[in-house]
């Protein structure tokens, strides 16, 4: 006889998931249609049917640290075919959101980016920190002459402070990721075959090729949108790294004809397109997406603003706009928002999903 586990129904957690997902998740009748139509559910103990009943009982322990919710790429097939319209895709997304918060240290960080009430504080922190840095450097004023952002925020200082702050945030996050790994191992122990070596390259291949998106029937443009964002982002990071090198080697700012500059603007275009598709889908494909929540919009809007402000900052420099430094300041706040808060927002999936995929493939779960 198997060990009997005591069930602690958690109504508060259930309601939280219900609120975050906009799903009447209690109306699930456990038919298993979701697991059946899912193109990613593994043959053994497939998802998301079992997650739905756990959510229905608010079984937090079984949901946080669950590897399967990360195998889901939220294509929405389960939701569009759900006979009770309980939106399993959104429920899994809500569980993921609770996961970012759960592993966030300090906890306040998790709260900061998940609760709209905390939004002013979340904005205030980068504003105050940037003002503090600039005040200490003594450059917190609008410089005279042609637009030169380094006159406002010297490149060396920018690179130094922003890099170290990012590093600090990511260090905090890595502690959470470590606990996440342990939790996954406890909840989904490796089977008889045991753990394999970390299949880093194959997982990287999965991520780059977006192969997990291909089986989806309900959200065909989803793959393209995610690819545009993903590679747009990757390009921007590459361009940014090149730009940092350029500031060190002193041929910054780059002329508009510099291949990297062109690449950067192309990346922006890719992100605009991808975002456009995503926003359009969230607005007009409710059957699949249900009600998009705060975290969804926070992510989309902050990425949008980051990219937009970046484009404007560039135009302002070339066009000698009077609001150039205001835009630049705004852009820096946006960078903070997206990059530093990253592990604690929905964008944290970059880390969590990668980790979960690595774990899943290590124990042979596919």
């Amino acid at each position: 006889m198997s060990e009997s586990s005591s069930i602690q129904p958690n109504l508060a957690f259930k309601r939280e998931l219900s609120r975050l997902s906009g799903s009447q998740l209690n109306q699930c009748m456990q038919c298993g249609n979701c697991s059946a139509v899912c193109s990613l559910a593994p043959a053994e103990r497939p998802f998301p049917r079992k997650e739905m009943v756990w959510a229905g009982w608010g079984l937090k322990d079984k949901l946080i640290g669950n590897v399967d919710i990360w195998l889901c790429h939220q294509c929405g097939d389960c939701s569009s075919y759900c006979p009770r319209d309980v939106k399993p895709a959104d429920v899994l997304s809500a569980i993921r959101q609770k996961t970012y918060q759960h592993y966030a240290r300090p906890r306040l960080l998790g709260k900061l980016v998940s609760n709209p009430a905390w939004l002013p504080v979340a904005i205030a922190i980068p504003v105050v920190v940037i003002i503090a840095i600039l005040s200490l450097a003594g450059t917190f004023k609008i410089p005279e002459g042609p637009v030169d952002y380094s006159a406002f925020f010297p490149h060396g200082l920018l690179n130094g402070t922003f890099s170290s702050i990012t590093l600090f945030f990511y260090l905090l996050a890595s502690l959470g990721i470590g606990r996440f790994w342990k939790d996954m191992k406890r909840q989904t122990p490796p089977g008889e075959t045991g753990m394999k070596r970390l299949p880093v390259f194959s997982v990287l291949g999965e991520i780059l090729s977006h192969s997990n998106f291909s089986g989806c029937g309900s959200r065909k443009p989803g793959k393209a949108a995610h690819m545009l964002l993903f590679f747009g982002f990757a390009l921007l990071i590459t361009v940014t790294l090149y730009a940092i090198w350029a500031t060190v080697s002193h041929h910054y700012p780059l002329p508009i004809t510099n291949p990297f500059k062109i690449l950067g603007n192309m990346a922006s275009l890719m992100i605009y397109t991808g975002l456009g598709i995503m926003i359009w889908q969230r607005l007009f494909n409710r059957r699949v997406f249900g009600k998009s929540g705060y975290s969804d919009w926070l992510l989309l809007v902050s990425i949008g603003l980051l990219t937009l402000s970046g484009t404007l900052v560039q135009l302002a420099r070339l066009g000698e706009w009077s609001v150039a430094y205001h835009l630049y300041f705004f852009h820096l706040v946006a960078v903070w928002f997206v990059i530093m808060y990253l592990p604690f927002t929905k964008l944290g999936h970059i880390f969590y999903r990668t980790t979960a995929l690595l774990y899943a493939r290590t124990i042979g779960r596919k």
Binding site: A36, A43, E44, P46, P83
Partner: protein
Amino acid sequence: MNLPTLIIGGGISGITAAVELAEAGGQVVLIEKENYLGGNVSRFNNYFPKLCPPACGLEINYQRIRSNPRISFYTGAEVKNIYGVDGDFRVKIHLKARLINNNCTSCGKCAEVCPEERPAKLGRTTGEKAAYINNGLAFPMKYCIDPDACAGEACGKCLEVCDYDAIQLDALSAEVVIQAGKVIVATGWILYDAAKIENYRYREEPDVVTNQEFERMLAACTREHKKLTRPSDGKVPARIAFIQCAGSRDMNHLPYCSAVCCSVSLKHALTLETEYPEIDSEIFYIDMRLSGRNEKLLKQAEGKERITLTKGKVGRILPPDGEKGVLLEVEDIISETKRQDAYDMVVLAMGLTPAPVAAELKVNEYGFYLPDQPSGMIPTASCKRPMDVSSSVKDATASALKAMRR
């Protein structure tokens, strides 16, 4: 003077209401839109829970109709409109042109010489002629001609052989007005359109059939003493899947439960088990819903080696992998495994919907008649809510009493 009660629909419920009422002394006019009485059940293979032939009870009821002078009936008749009030309705009825009249002796010569065939449909005897009779136990026992399949006077072969002046290829439709005191509406059910469940590929895969089609296939096999074969290539299937809640309990289709399909699929599986021992069945369900004594169908099925019951709604049907047949995708919830399995045939346990409205009555959002209607109008049985034969007969009997209200 008491006017007769008009009963719309000559299926098992309408027939029951008619005989029950007439035997209690009431005058009854029964109308049926098809050419034969019996409705859906007359094409069934068997009833649950006893797996007995519907023809048995129908025969008794037909005998009750034959011997009762208070019942008159029209076949090929449809209601055009109803006006009037309780106690004094006038119902206009359209009588389809019957190309064979009452002189028909059912000798069958017309069918013998008829060169045209009705298009093959599942459950329809292949090679059925344009001049045909439902089956050896049809009522009324008269041939009729399918105007869509008949070549008309140009052919005229049946005219030559009929010794009884029974064939009138140029017959016209007619209209009659019937005065009635009460109206019982027993128009019954039709299946939900299986093609609307796109992920079950009903339209694309010949080996995906509805349970009604399957029932008729089984009935044809019983009648003609032949093996059950699958539509695509005529092979005897080795493995048949039954998909429960095809359309029912589904917000995308019919939110309600169709109440009979679990019993029907178990009946099918048990019939296969006894009559076609070379065939394995597997039933995929969400909840097994059997009420009262019908629970024993489930008990019986659980004990059979050739019947598998799997909890899990089938997500989708995929085209076959080379061979004929189809693939199903489903989570077996009890063993928590997701399967992609091949079957030779799939039977969709389709949801029930009300037959098209025959009278302007109050309906719910799915088109089923509400129990409360203008005085004198009495909806009964499966046009009120999905129900099985026994409940329908029960309700029809109760409705007959309502028609006797003073």
